[in-house]
Symmetry: C2
Subunit: 602 residues, 2 copies
């Protein structure tokens, strides 16, 4: 491990680097390879670097920024962030829970979050996934515009608080995944380019120039990112990383950055004796993403990747939304394909992208399985990138009865489900049953388990230069898409406050019913090997009607419906769980209104 | 073939497209897929397109621009540019000759160029490679900033003149390669972006946004480029294309544009019954570039690629220049590696690029051979991208005797070679022998064969907006590199004039001697299977001294020296050709001064 009490910095084009302390400055020594070193400093010392006499800047590898990205760095005692609990977990196939520390509790710190870890254990969660903690400007933010890769944001409690949180999770048997953003740095407080060629114009990304992973000096930039991974996984003892939007890690070199990361992490596993798991958020729909390095061309060696197509298929089917990027989704057939073959776009035309997209998943592959794909019904993006951040149970609607339908019965609202709010809960329940009992690695979004009333809108706290642009830009974006709602101002502190979970909801109707449903589903998953395994070729799905599907895995069947009326499933067997009470008929089970039931068939 | 007498245009975002004629305008019909069609027009009709009422623009697929890129397009009779001579040639391993039509003769037209085709046949040339003809602004230019992919520049004589030139070449058994630039369009007169998403910010190139080969609507952009290829290869009957800087064809889609082009061209070969050859100018040093599509990961299916490392190894060894991108070149060892393994950077560190680079050539590969690599001593870039465009025989110098050398004899100038101009000719002769008798596909640059006195500096004829920037930018560039010479003004008509070959030189000393040397070398190559084949594993090179190498191919040996003194080669056999008369010694052959000799060893 680098000796973090001797600040060093890479500045290959500098003629002179000064260490700037509160009480003076001193020249640093060039130690080769573009690196500069100072003398040993005691923990707590505030320092900055001045390159060629220019205004002092924070350390790119700073561990803590007590005044934010624009202020000085501070030397941190390595003892502070060294994990203390012996723990190891393989996160493939485990039940994950995504949370934003700042909105998880009113206090918004890791220490406050620890108070609710027991709730997660009782619910059946096996690992928490923490949205990015890397230092970003201001006090509020989602974290995807971070600028301090090695520092834990001060408003979450800094390095000490995060380290305590990890220990507390491990003590309860919970793994910890950290979301890291290596594809760009935020627009404010990003001083990296002043140190060296961290960015390149050879690739354009939605955020501008790409991080330099394949041009001159890219070896040093890759090491900068790999060093941050090592700090989280080895020093802090985080169990896995979620890599943001890896399709924007633009790298044409022979060994792609992700493949190198995968190989390096395999080495750290041997070194630490712990399993470490890499999750990629990938838009590419390429199974090679989760194939071991060198097994197939383009293999990236990720342990798992987010499968947005599964989310879209679930969301569009159960909420009825089929506009924008949901355009190729929404049917029972699409839902069947997603649950059995993962990708909807597997080489064919993507209407939203206006080009062919993806490659097929081999359900019999020995290189990956269903657990290699993470699926969810809600996550920070799918909830938060909506105009008002509303959730499934606030937006879902049962389909209208088809015009001129002769099968009126099927869509006749029943007394039990005629209430739209009640129907919306049933729609969420149906979706949850399918994905929590799927062959994938499932992930909940905080509060989803009790159909939390709190939204998760986008929030930020940028400075006076960029802040107003974010507010206006966000409004314009949703206007252009035709949303006719008042978009909350991301910069208004009330917007983050509106997202803070209301923990008093969870034992009140109707939230308690949803919580019981999720808890029961996770118990069933946990207790039965047929549902825990990641075998994709053992999953079958029947399209029962336009509004209902039947998923079978081993001796279990999950029947889910989005219909406001009655649906009959030809299902012999024992009902293990049902959202609404089913009626036994001569040929099967009849359910009323949206929801799901789980049957043990043999 | 498209019916070019009915102008059609792709403008997917237009609400309305007008056909603008000299005497009025009419609305075009939307025919689906973003395409618009007009009625049939008679050849000679001048036309433009107006999109959504905006100022009229030339046709992106225009065949002729009589007033240049800013003026109207003109309907061309397809008869005009249809090749008439039955001819087919496989260009791998053939002797190519690169020429710039505008500087090849004082007239600068294809018709004038025809006058010198017999010279090329007598020299032993098998195909000419024509620098880009695609329409560009102004009357003078190298052609790499073209903007009319389908049009032949008016100053070269337009479509008719080019078609006649191709027929005349074919009548003499000469193939024709056309240089095409698909990686960017020039900065002036490029109206493509007003028609559709031809460019994308997803990739950055030295010229700005990349051509859109992999984003939304890329199918149409790829078809635009493929259509131009078909026009040259199938309609005009060009025998091969040289694709400029393919490393800037930025394409992350599953089937790379080059691989698709390769497959499509294979289909045209079947259709036409002619062999068509694709040459890539690639900086990537990846042998997969010349491996058949689908044979190995990343295979691009090119027939051959330019091998700059071979040029650099030759140039640096024989001229003594080792600065800039020649930094890893210049030794006899590097020359040996280039002649036997093609790439100097084959996965290891490239000092100039500041990163690892390339992958090794498998000399025993069944997917490609030596003919898959095009090598040269001069070409438009290597001559023209010098400050003053000077050539080998104007710059080459023998190495100085090492300080404190005890082997003074080896560097003692002899009477025959003490003249620096004479030595420079010997250096070119030595380099020529090695590359013309190598296992590669050799290419000469016009005038090289007689050590032409004319330089080939960069020239252009841009408008008043960009012109002055080009002049100033070019001067600044060479100043920064430390060249202390007066850089000719690219915009000055005298600069192109200075490059025009002086055909009266070629039978005058010392030019006649060099011409005889090249002619003799090419005759030897042509007459002996040992030298014509492309087998890389049959090539061996011995480093005889710091200043001399010995290349063996079958029963032939090529001994080349850059030394100003005497070098002895242990070579039994019959001397076939020698730049300076060798002296038979007890153990071999001794030569004085730089040059080469060819021996038949058994």
């Amino acid at each position: 491990m680098r000796d973090i009490t001797i600040p060093t910095v890479w500045a290959p084009n500098a003629g002179l680097v000064d260490l700037v302390l509160d009480d003076g400055r001193e020249v640093m020594a060039a130690i080769g390879g573009g690196w500069w070193a100072s003398r040993r400093l005691v923990p707590g010392t505030r320092y900055r670097f001045s390159i060629d006499g220019n205004p002092p800047l924070p350390d790119p590898r700073s561990l803590a920024q007590p005044e934010g990205p624009h202020g000085p760095s501070v030397v941190v005692d390595p003892e502070v962030f060294t994990g203390r609990v012996e723990f190891s977990i393989d996160l493939r196939g485990k039940v994950l829970y995504e949370l934003h520390v700042g909105a998880f509790t009113p206090e918004g710190t890791f220490d406050a979050a620890c108070e609710h870890l027991d709730h997660l254990v009782e619910l059946g969660i096996e690992a928490v996934e923490v949205m990015p903690v890397a230092d970003f400007p201001g006090l509020r933010g989602w974290g995807y515009d971070g600028v301090g890769q090695y520092a834990v944001h001060r408003s979450y409690g800094g390095p000490e608080s995060f380290a305590r949180f990890i220990d507390e999770c491990h003590l309860r048997g919970l793994g910890v995944v950290l979301d890291v953003v290596h594809n760009h740095q935020g627009p404010e407080g990003n001083y990296l380019a002043q140190f060296g060629p961290y960015f390149t114009s050879a690739h354009g990304t939605p955020w501008g120039e790409a991080v330099n992973l394949d041009q001159a000096h890219s070896r040093d930039v890759r090491d900068f990112l790999l060093g941050a991974c090592r700090q989280w996984l080895v020093d802090y003892r985080v169990d896995g990383l979620r890599l943001d939007a890896v399709h924007e890690l633009r790298d044409d070199s022979p060994k792609h950055y992700l493949a190198e990361l995968s190989e390096v992490v395999r080495g750290w596993e041997v070194e630490t004796g712990r399993k470490l798991t890499l999750f990629a958020e990938s838009d590419l729909n390429q199974p090679s993403m989760v194939a071991p390095v060198d097994s197939v061309p383009g293999a990236k060696g990720m342990d798992a990747q987010w499968a947005d197509d599964v989310h879209h298929a679930l969301h569009a089917f159960f909420t009825g939304e089929t506009s924008g990027y949901y355009v190729d989704f929404g049917t029972a057939e699409a839902l069947k394909q997603a649950l059995t073959r993962v990708f909807i776009h597997e080489g064919g035309w993507s209407t939203f992208r206006d080009r062919n997209w993806g490659a097929p998943v081999d359900v019999g592959s020995e290189l990956y399985d269903g657990h290699s794909f993470l699926c969810c019904l809600q996550n920070h993006d799918q909830v938060g990138n909506r105009a008002i951040g509303d959730r499934t149970a606030q937006m879902a609607k049962v389909p209208a009865a088809p015009q001129g339908s002769t099968a009126l019965d099927a869509h006749r609202p029943t007394a039990a489900t005629a209430d739209p709010a009640e129907q919306a809960l049933g729609l969420q329940a149906g979706a949850a049953a399918l994905y929590l009992l799927s062959a994938f690695t499932p992930m909940l979004f905080m509060g989803e388990e009790w159909a939390a009333s709190t939204p998760f809108p986008f929030f930020s706290d940028l400075g006076p230069e960029l802040g107003p642009h974010v507010t206006a830009g966000r409004r314009r974006e949703f206007e252009k898409m035709g949303w006719e709602v008042e978009v909350p101002d991301p910069q208004d502190p009330a917007t983050l406050r509106s997202a803070v979970l209301r923990w008093d909801e969870l034992d009140r109707p109707p939230h308690d019913r949803m919580l019981a449903w999720y808890t029961a589903l996770l118990r069933i998953r946990r207790e039965h090997g047929d549902l825990r395994n990641g075998s994709l070729h053992s999953v079958t799905v029947d399209v029962v009607s336009d509004d209902a599907v039947l998923m079978r895995r081993g001796k279990f069947a999950v029947a889910a419906s989005r219909s406001g009326g009655e649906v009959e499933f030809a299902l012999p067997g024992e009902v293990v769980l049902s959202w609404t009470p089913p009626v036994q008929t001569a040929t099967g089970l009849r359910v009323s209104g949206p929801g799901a039931l789980i049957v043990r068939t043999r």
